[in-house]
Structures are given as C-alpha cells and as structure tokens.
Subunit: 260 residues, 2 copies
Amino acid sequence: MSAQLLATPELSPAAFRPVSECNARTMSSAVQGSCSGCRLQELCLPSGLSERPLREFAAVVFPHRRLKAGEALFRSGAIFDAVYLVRTGFVKTVVLLEDGREQVTGLHMPGEMLGMDGLASGRHASDAVALGDTDICVVPYDRLETLSCEAREVQRHLHRMFSHEIVREQRMMLLLGSMRAEERVTAFLLNLSERLTARGYSPSDFVLRLTREEIGSLLGMKLETVSRIFSKFQKAGLIEIDGKHVRIVSIEGLRGVIGR
Amino acid sequence: MSAQLLATPELSPAAFRPVSECNARTMSSAVQGSCSGCRLQELCLPSGLSERPLREFAAVVFPHRRLKAGEALFRSGAIFDAVYLVRTGFVKTVVLLEDGREQVTGLHMPGEMLGMDGLASGRHASDAVALGDTDICVVPYDRLETLSCEAREVQRHLHRMFSHEIVREQRMMLLLGSMRAEERVTAFLLNLSERLTARGYSPSDFVLRLTREEIGSLLGMKLETVSRIFSKFQKAGLIEIDGKHVRIVSIEGLRGVIGR
DNA sequence: CGTAAGCTTGACAAAGTTCAACGATTGTGG
DNA sequence: CCACAATCGTTGAACTTTGTCAAGCTTACG
C-alpha cells in the first residue's frame, strides 16, 4: 500500500491529461457549460450508463465555481446543499476544534469529490479552501438524489465516491496513528507522486501545493519537523527539494523508508 | 465538540433502552426475523417514511449473524456484498499495513453501520471483529440499492450514514493529528460516555470493551501510555478505574483536560 | 522595494516510547 | 473446580522522537 496511504478515487489516467479549460464558457463565478464534453466525465458518468439515463444525464448541466487562492468553497457550519467536484486546481480541507486548533484533513485534486461531510447534519463539518486558481463543478444534492434514483449506475458511482472517502480517511488514521514522522512524510510524497501520475503529470517532479505548516498539519507534526525531514531526505539523496518544488531522486529509496 | 470527537449517528435515546433479544428467533448463525419489530427501526427506517414504501420496507426481513468474542464479521480483502448494522454488542474495526502494523479505527455500538469501506473497491479494506457476544443485521448491498431507489427517505438515510462515518473519521484524524495523549484519552472517555448514554446506559459508569493495547491503537499511542494516563486521572480524582470498569467522577474535570 | 510570510537550522525541553519486572485477571483443560 | 498458562495491566528508568523557542535567511506579494 504505502503510496496508497492517502489515496484517491481510481481514474483512467487518460481522463486527466493536461490541465487547461475543459469547456469553461464565461469568466463569471458561476459558469454554465455542457457536462457531456467535460474531461471529468468518466468520473461523473459511470462508464456503463445505459441508453435512456445516459441521454438524460448528458443533457444535465451543473454550474461551476471559480476560486482563487485562499477562497473558500464552503466553510464549517455552512448549510449543505451540494457536493463539489474538483475540475482543475487543488483544494485543501480543514477541520477545526473550538479552541482554535485546526487540522488539514485532505489535499484534493481534479476528479475528487468534496463536501459529503455536510450530509450527516445538514451543515458542513469542514472548510474547503482553494490552493490556487481552481474550477469546481457544483452538484446540487437534490439533483443528485433524483439522478441517483433514476440511474442505478449513478447511484452506485455516488456510493463508491462516499466509500472511497471513507477508505482514504481510514488510511489517514493509520498513517497518523501508527507511523513515525519520516514514514508519514514519505507516504505523503509517494501518494502525491502516484496521484499526479494518474493525472498525466510527472511522477518524480512536482510542486507541493501546501506550505510546510499545512503539510505538518495534514501529517500530524510541526512544520520544523517537516522541514528537517525534507532536508534529511535531500542529504540522503532521496529527493531534491527547493521551496515547494520536489524531485524524487530515488523512489525505491523512499519506499524503503516505510516499515523501518 | 470534545466528546463528539469519536462521534456516532444521532439516535433517539429511546431506540436503545436495554440490550436483550430484540426478536431473535433462533440461535443459528443466520437468524431470520421481522424487521418491523426491531428496536433499531428508527435507525433502519427513517422516521418520516411515507405510506407505501413504509409498508414495503416493514415487510423486509434481513438475516442476522451472531458472533462471539474474537469472531470476524468480515476481514480485509473479503468480497463486499453487504453492509452491517450492529444490533447488540460491540465491534471493533481494524486496518492493517503489510508490515504487520495495525490500527484500530473504530469501536462500534448498537445502531451503527459497518462495512461501507468495501464498496469503493468491491473488497473490504478493514477487519470487523466482535468484542463479545454480538448480534448483527446483514443488509445485502443489492437490496439496499433497490430499496434506496424506491424510497427517497431510505436513500437519504443511507447517505447520512455514509456521511456520518466520514465525519467520525475526520474527527478521529483531528484527534490523532492535533491532540496530546491525555486529551485523546479524555476525548475517548467522554465520547464513550455520551454514546452509552444515548443507548440508555449510565453516563458515568461503564465497561471498556477494549484492552489497553486496543485503546492505545485507536488513539495512536502505546498501551503503557494509556495505562499511565488512566492512573494519573485516577490520582487526580477525575475517574475511578478498575481493569475495564470505569467510573467518571468529574465530568467537568475531564472536559477541562481538553484544550490545555 | 519593503514587509510579511515562509523556510531552515540549532539548542534545548517535553512528551511519549521502550524495555523490563512484576502483579492481576482470565480462561482452559485436567 | 482448581491450577497453570497466557494474556492483560501497572510502574519505573533510560532513551528516542518530536516539539519549542529563537535566530537568521529566502521568497513572494502588494
């Protein structure tokens, strides 16, 4: 597992080739566009959709939201009325404790679904914040309920998305509860590499979207610890790191860090 | 939040008064019984069920499974074909790393749903193990899909159960990533107290179903640390502890432990 | 271009782990 | 039903990992 630790929905790599526009029609904050041309389609529309529901579903158009770095998609306590699909860009989710402490619980990439935490109580239990320019597909929950009843494939796909989030969080718990700091950082790097590869980016060369502090929060350690471990891995020839840019030099070496 | 940290689906307390039989008809490992008389009904059947689906749903009968201490409901890797509702008893869930490390990810009480982690990949990602005599309601996933299409309330209820599990795990991540050992143990005790209260048990007097080692695993620390903290809390007059039996002496004192 | 935010590194402190010994409890087979 | 083994729990002492504080440097942004 290792690199699967912070895993993400499985996708056909082809679905995510380059970043770019993907039928954004206007620059307003709520953009309309046909979903049938969207690159995320394999994710939105289960591949085996039967005739009638497919035609109906393909006609469906969901609004978009464009966010800039630091803007929130939703905040903890906000009324839940939609789930969100990341189309382009990166989003972090953050959970808060009343005493001000907070924890980054996820870093989300194109194709991933956000906001399902709001369904339980009708209000979101976390914040979702854009880490740069980001394009989000907004799927109103009542639409989803209806679609889900009409097409069994949509329902099953939705359930799988829920389930995937549960598995991802389970693995995060395992990471936070059972791994040493170096192992956690390693799992984080390997997982990023894997997920970026699935989206058509380089497996070994990428940009961390998070600050050291955010990485530390996600991994349950202090920013200084993250920094020291990056430096140590660089000295050991496992990675090259310059600010947020990472190059994995020895993926095998990294894999060896996990499990002693 | 504090006590909500390891939270559970919200239930009307009345639904869980004493433990006992709850229409178990035979002693075989797969017991049949009418679900319409079940004490878990408020959980299985959303309260606002409309006429027709209610009649249909009430006629539905799901098989049961009886487990003894240490028996597994499912194991990691097993084919997913059903979700499970705890009727009586307690169940732990455990996630494993290939190198043998494992982590307890949850302690589940009557009314809670298990096994949704298997939907993502078609195989379970965790083990579920009974902590004593346990009665489980087995809900085949294909039945659930059908029911969920037929009655919007069932669908929404199911989604809420999924969502609740996501929120619970988020809070676990927060606990594991941001709290000190004493705070984690406190959150664990307060959460147990709250959930047992909701099921009609004493808020201050209860039995830990887990060993020190299992508690440590759940909370991301070693068993010795758990033991020391229990001893310290006892000396401080916050709790009385004797083996697995706990009495909370000062719930306010415990609440004060969280957040410095 | 200046200021704030982000990153690195060192020295030290604190929290938690490890190892070890021993006592208590539980469960099982004689 | 007892006895013995295995598991479980407690506690101390030494050690390891990670956190804290502080200083200085770099980068990014208005």
